[in-house]
Amino acid sequence: MSGHVVPKKLYILVFAALIVLTGLTTGVAFINLGKWNTVVALAIAVCKATLVVLFFMHLRWSSNQLRMVVAASLLWLAILIVLTVSDVFTRNWTPVPSNWEAQIQQDVR
């Protein structure tokens, strides 16, 4: 049965990179970068996840079919997050009239 055997060294190299990135992301958490803290944290997480997927999970040596499955799942995750979040964040683009409470009191009377 075919199966690409990955050299031990490569695994250890990837592991070392993962540890370094973990240290980096933990360290950066204590530095004030304002809103960039979140961006950097997520970017580093994406790097780590990519290393795990490509090398530990062998996607680097896998068929295009399997890569499509991964790509599809990420795309669908993006659809879920983006469309849902875009609703929440555009709700107050159409502001409610400022005197709506008074208006309701009046209509009720």
Partner: protein, 216 residues
Amino acid sequence: MHSSTAALAEQFDDLEQQHEASSLGMWVFLATEVMFFGGLFTAYIIFRNLYLPAFEAGSRLLDVRIGAFNTAVLLCSSLTMALAVRAAQLGKKGALITFLLLTLLLGLTFIGVKFALEWRHDYLEGLAPGVNWTFNGPDSRHLELFFCFYFFMTGVHALHMVIGVGVLTVLIIMAWRGEFSPQRYNTVEMSGLYWHFVDIIWIFLFPLLYLIGGRY
């Protein structure tokens, strides 16, 4: 009476087809897991943006050192798991069992730290929603929401780890009984994919829960 690592299963024409089917099946399953956790991440993102101060405060109440330690533990376990698969590919039974055992121990360490150290501490501090919530500072309800997400997300993740530990135990027994060989190591490889995936979830949980709370 035949497991997937025994003979060629009846429905397949050859071992290669069987192997490819297993791989595709496991990756498709992982796609479902991405969507499963994705729903949680979506909710978390929304509430964090609605109640940023409370969520940052909650984040700061978590112990970053323990979180980082646990992250390192899981990364180690991914390494040992990858090496276990490699040992199975090369037919090295001793190394296979050793690496599976190490992965198992690291997994148990993670679970132990999470439950016995972190969760227990939060519970004793009165930060466990629904069970023992005694925080009465400002923004208490939104902080409670953060901790709800914290416990639920790490809880679902931990559940997946526990299942992984169970799978590893079965693998160790099977390896001990000599059921794996360079021609039949599918099950180890597929379990490895699952284990790495659970690690990846933590790779995202760690920064989202622990690291973006304005700790400066």
